[in-house]
Subunit: 342 residues, 2 copies
DNA sequence: TTGAAAGCGCTAACAA
DNA sequence: TTGTTAGCGCTTTCAA
């Protein structure tokens, strides 16, 4: 600790705890206590330190503090895509329940081919107190480094058979099956299916399995030509819808595994005078706020977006504070919301 | 560096650089180099280190590394609200241009009354390499600690007269004025206005100033009873619209400073058989993807959401790498998108 | 209630 | 090309 004002360039905020200590006329350690454990220092000392802190606009270095303490107050969040409003809702739930004492470090793969391993490794470098993964851990290597990191991990969105840590969500397979069965029960027989590219998206794949299962139970032959994998978006929904109708004029219904696609198709029908659900039934997924307001109102599947994040936050708080915590699998369920489009 | 396997509890991932070094049969420093500056070590050494690293599943501590190096690879992001899709787009732009080498630490105020000061202070604790603030720095205290932190700061969304660092965006005032003038030029005289609560939202206030200015230039008396401040949302848009119509049966047009509100109102009109724009004209703000697809297509103001984030990323990259960088004020402009609703 | 010493896991500067 | 030494700015431990 020699050479305090040495030659080494002072990086960052030049105000250190030491400076506050000198100003307050106490030792560095007392400043540390006054800030983190105010009740362990005397009233007068606390006031002096607080005054010095304010005068110098001192902001402690979380980096240094957490390195010394051996634990951070960072929670890593892995998102498949920053743009998706559904993830944003879950983030809000997480942030709300985690509270002020944790910060969220958010990362998503740069480019579709980048594996989850890279993102997870980057986040683990910051030694987060916990990790929340929207979606599921795919690669074997990612699993391995997660397990050996020994921090609480929450996988969110799909209930998994073999989660790395805790799994919160609902069964995408059952949701897909229920939605398809809903359409079949209405008498539709030629039902299209639209989902995200399944290669990198376990949830999409699950919903597809559910869709196929529902067809099978009714003894309906699958139509691979009516199953589309595309990126999310309103326009994409319109395009997918047009393509499906081109491929099969007599299509009865389309199950879009995302409201944005379904709404895009619905708006297209509005413009073209295609009557929904008489000419073709449309089913969405997510129950976004607008789904209830469009004409005809969109029949869709409601999944607990905000609640997933909030539950994740609660589970992590409990784990991090060594409180007892419940299951490692939390099924929040889903709900078919019957409206007018199907 | 004594007591290596001492009594002190080993927190975090127990694998340290030292362990990799031993395994590879080289010094700690060589491992550090092999990882960060691969070209400065010999081929063989690099291979040995890489093998050891893989065997031990070593993930370096960014916390320790960055404390030692005196700079982090974190970029702090302040968002007014995690849910807002508009911010998500800007985040994506930021993430895309910043690239893999930086992580984003995202924070937003917990509760509407919490000042920006608290959020900014929390983020600065992590000594981020830079800070991106969506919106503007309000409090004097926040300004002060930002300035004294001496890191690059980007304020995004509104062009500011006196930004803390760099300001990227467009003039909300001019956008508000242009949109209103557009409606007035169409012959509308009784024009409602809907925005977010102005108390905590400088952008909303700016748009309102623009709205008032446009009225004034045309010699139209303002109607404070037709100016509403509400939270964003489709349903809220519908409610606001109903309220405005109740207050003034003869309302000609409504300028919603957010597409979600405008679309909510538009969907309501669809359901009620209110003809847009014949009965009443509707104007949005943001040009979300759906705006072009609904019936009638929504006339709105396009602002460069993604581009703002991307520009912020570019400016920061330049600053952080000491490259020359352009202006400290980047006006990305806005555009009135004329469609059918107004 | 306060302080001094040791060191968190790594990088920078310098030496070999 | 590799190794050694001295910290980064804090917290922990232990002593006063």
């Amino acid at each position: 600790m020699a050479l305090k004002g040495g030659t080494r360039a002072r990086r960052w905020n030049p105000v250190r705890m030491e400076d506050v200590a000198q100003r307050a006329g106490v030792s560095l350690m007392t400043v540390s206590r006054a800030i983190r454990l105010p009740h362990t220092v005397s009233e007068g000392t606390r006031a002096k330190v607080e005054a010095a802190r304010a005068e110098l606009s001192y902001v402690g270095s979380a980096i240094a503090g957490q390195l010394a303490a051996g634990r951070t107050r960072l929670v890593g969040v892995v998102l498949p895509d920053l743009r998706n409003a559904a993830f944003a809702l879950a983030m809000q739930g997480l942030s709300d329940t985690l509270g002020r004492e944790f910060e969220l470090v958010v990362a998503s793969p740069h480019g579709a081919e980048e594996g989850d391993e890279h993102v997870i490794r980057s986040l683990l470098g910051y030694r987060p107190a916990a990790l929340v993964i929207h979606g599921n851990v795919r690669s074997r290597e990612a699993r391995k480094i997660l397990v050996s990191s020994e921090i609480p991990v929450v996988e969110m969105g799909s209930l998994l058979r073999r989660p790395v840590g805790c799994s919160i969500g609902y069964s995408n397979r059952e949701a897909g099956e229920a939605a398809t069965e809903y359409l079949l029960a209405k008498g539709h027989r030629t039902v299209g299916f639209v989902c995200a590219p399944m290669r990198y998206n376990e949830r999409a794949k699950e919903r597809w399995h559910g869709y196929r299962a529902a067809l099978k139970r009714r003894g309906i032959a699958p139509r691979p030509d009516l199953e589309l994998e595309i990126e999310l978006g309103y326009r994409r929904g319109e395009e997918a819808f047009k393509l499906l109708r081109k491929r099969e004029r007599g299509i009865d219904a389309v199950f879009f595994t995302g409201d944005a696609w379904a709404l895009g198709a619905l708006f297209y029908c509005q413009r073209q005078g295609i009557e929904v659900p008489r000419d073709v039934a449309l089913m969405g997924f997510d129950d976004q706020e607008q789904a209830a307001l469009v004409v005809p109102a969109l029949t869709t599947v409601r999944v607990p977006r905000y609640e997933m994040g909030a539950q994740a936050g609660r589970v992590l708080r409990a784990r991090l504070m060594d409180l007892p915590h419940g299951d490692t699998q939390i099924d929040l369920g889903f709900e078919i919301i019957e409206r007018s489009s199907a």
